[in-house]
């Protein structure tokens, strides 16, 4: 949001409630978020270095990182490509049912992940609506890496569309007119004028979808088949360790994931700042 604070320069704290809202906000944030999160780091701090490395870098764990990373990357890229087209179509063209389609884009945010998981599994398994057409061609989706990718694509779908839409709307028609009047054809206008404008937002949308996909659990576990070394995502491995009462092992992997997520969050914040500066010109 590029909404700059528009507070007038009046003396601070004319309004009441500073102490109350500050106290409540910090207490609630601390109790619900910060203290429990710190438990993960403190628990890991009690481990020896060797123990930590064994927990987070065993072959099975490494295989899960690779799957989670690559499937999230692939899903993010596919969403970047199709998300651009969907956002473009929704903003620039009008067709019957456009507003319904626009509302539907948020479905992955609204549909519980477990429901998405079993629905996608039903569609892509051997007898499913899509699976029965793919299987004769030797393409297995359910219970393979492709299944993980499909679930993560579903989960990340709204991010790129919703990040691009406001930027596309703010894009002034004048710059396209200028390009056209200077002799550019439509292709040049799109690749040299519009796409560079969209690039920061496109990258932000990709990063958001990627970050969400890294930690996703519910939609993946049903369709992935959960075979160790092959279709086991990292969050599932945490659950597996917990079920074996290996709390330290589970927490160590969680800390690796948390560090990765927080790095992504930082990167996304920087991207958004860049995107905002880019559009304030």
């Amino acid at each position: 949001m590029s909404l700059a604070a528009t507070l007038p320069r009046t003396p601070r704290r004319v309004l009441p409630g500073f102490g109350l809202s500050l106290g409540f906000t910090l207490a609630y944030l601390g109790l619900i978020v910060l203290i429990p999160l710190s438990a993960a780091f403190l628990k890991t701090a009690g481990m020896s270095w060797d123990e930590f490395v064994t927990a987070v870098a065993s072959p099975r764990v490494l295989a899960s990182y690779r799957l989670s990373f690559l499937a999230s990357l692939a899903a993010g890229m596919v969403n970047m490509f199709f998300g651009l087209i969907v956002a473009w179509v929704l903003v620039r063209y009008s067709f019957p049912g456009r507003r319904i389609v626009d509302a539907l884009v948020d479905l992955p945010f609204a549909l519980p992940t477990a429901v998405a998981g079993i629905a996608l599994t039903a569609i892509y398994s051997k007898n499913g609506w899509v699976g029965r057409w793919l299987e004769p061609h030797g393409i297995k989706v359910a219970f393979t890496e492709i299944g993980v990718f499909v679930a993560l694509t579903f989960i990340g779908l709204p991010f790129v569309v919703r990040t691009l839409q406001p930027v596309l709307l703010e894009l002034e028609p004048e710059i396209e007119e200028a390009a056209a009047s200077l002799g550019a054809n439509r292709w040049d206008t799109i690749t040299r004028v519009i796409l560079p404008e969209l690039f920061p937002a496109l990258l932000t949308g990709f990063a958001l979808a990627f970050a969400r996909a890294l930690g996703e659990y519910g939609s993946v576990v049903f369709i992935s088949g959960n075979m160790p070394m092959r279709t086991e995502i990292t969050p599932l491995l945490i659950i597996t360790k917990l079920e074996q009462y290996d709390y330290r092992g589970a927490t160590a992997i969680a800390v690796v994931m948390l560090v990765a997520s927080f790095s992504m969050l930082l990167l996304i914040n920087l991207l958004q700042k860049w995107s905002r500066r880019y559009h304030r010109i």
Binding site: R13, A110, V115, M257
Partner: protein, 293 residues
């Protein structure tokens, strides 16, 4: 996001006098792109939604409704409602307090605070559950103390409520903060100057101004609260009829190959998602109208 999504309703008018060739896509491009976009959405959004209802009704309406006569299914519905009824209002109070603090006052560390509020969105659902196990679980910080006092949090209802609260933590706050920042504090200053006290100012000036944004955040918060799976799964212990929420009950039925019942319970959650999307679109529309007025 309310403002941004709401504004998608406005379409650029065709610029008069510009050469249409370079500022507008040719018809075949329009058709192709629209077809590609709709096909993509058909495969990834419409088919899963349709599959839920088709699978749920596969054995007919009788089998569908039989799934809801199961006492464990009813218990899971009750528990899901209970978790949402506690988590959502808690996060509403927090969201309003945090937005009031961040939008109406200047203080140091404000941007850090804003980032910290968003933190739960960056945490994997599974980890969101795990951290409460580390605090309240048998091996956790308060494990022994809780055991001595016979208080159960993990593998019991309080743990489910806590995990739900964590994953829905930022929804209301992140909707209200940008909205209230954009509105500024002029109207509140005016109210205070005219002699209103703080609560009067909040109820009669601030709240009417933020009601659509607040409602928007509550709708999203509630959808996530009722649908959360990963975090709740870790702290629940999966005790049938006691600590299973609806999404967890779906999983159990599915793993028992009781597909019709699993999809029947899932169809209720899918209906919730559809209602959420409709309400959300309605709120966006009202919000756009209130801004135009």
């Amino acid at each position: 996001m309310a403002s941004t999504i709401a504004s998608t309703l406005v379409v650029h008018p065709a610029p008069a006098g510009a050469t249409p060739r370079a500022t507008h896509d040719p018809a075949w491009v329009r058709w192709t792109l629209t077809a590609v976009a709709l096909l993509f959405l058909l495969f990834f959004l419409v088919l899963p939604l349709a599959a839920v209802f088709t699978e749920a009704l596969r054995r007919g309406v009788g089998a569908y409704f039989a799934a809801f006569r199961d006492l464990d299914a009813l218990a899971s519905i009750r528990l899901t409602l209970l978790a949402a009824v506690i988590a959502v209002p808690s996060n509403i109070v927090f969201g309003v307090a945090a937005a009031w603090l961040i939008a109406k006052f200047q203080f140091r560390g404000k941007s850090l605070l804003t980032t910290l509020i968003d933190l739960p969105f960056a945490v994997s659902p599974v980890i969101s559950g795990l951290i409460y196990v580390l605090v309240f679980g048998l091996q956790g910080w308060f494990g022994e103390w809780l055991l001595d006092h016979d208080i159960k949090i993990i593998f019991a209802v309080p743990g489910i409520v806590l995990a739900t609260t964590f994953v829905t933590f930022p929804f209301v706050a992140r909707e209200l903060i940008p909205l209230m920042q954009a509105q500024g504090a002029d109207e509140e200053y005016a109210a205070i100057t005219l002699g209103a006290n703080g609560w009067q100012t909040f109820w009669r000036v601030t709240l009417p101004n933020i009601k659509w944004g607040l409602l928007y955040g509550v709708i999203l918060c509630n959808a996530r609260a009722m649908g959360e799976f990963g975090a709740v799964s870790v702290v629940s212990g999966h005790i049938r009829g006691e600590t299973n929420t609806m999404p967890l009950h779906v999983e159990i039925l599915y793993n028992e190959y009781n597909f019709v019942a699993a999809f029947a319970v899932a169809s209720l959650l899918a209906l919730l998602a559809i209602v959420t999307l409709v309400l959300k679109a309605f709120v966006e529309w009202r919000y756009a109208q209130s801004r135009r007025a």
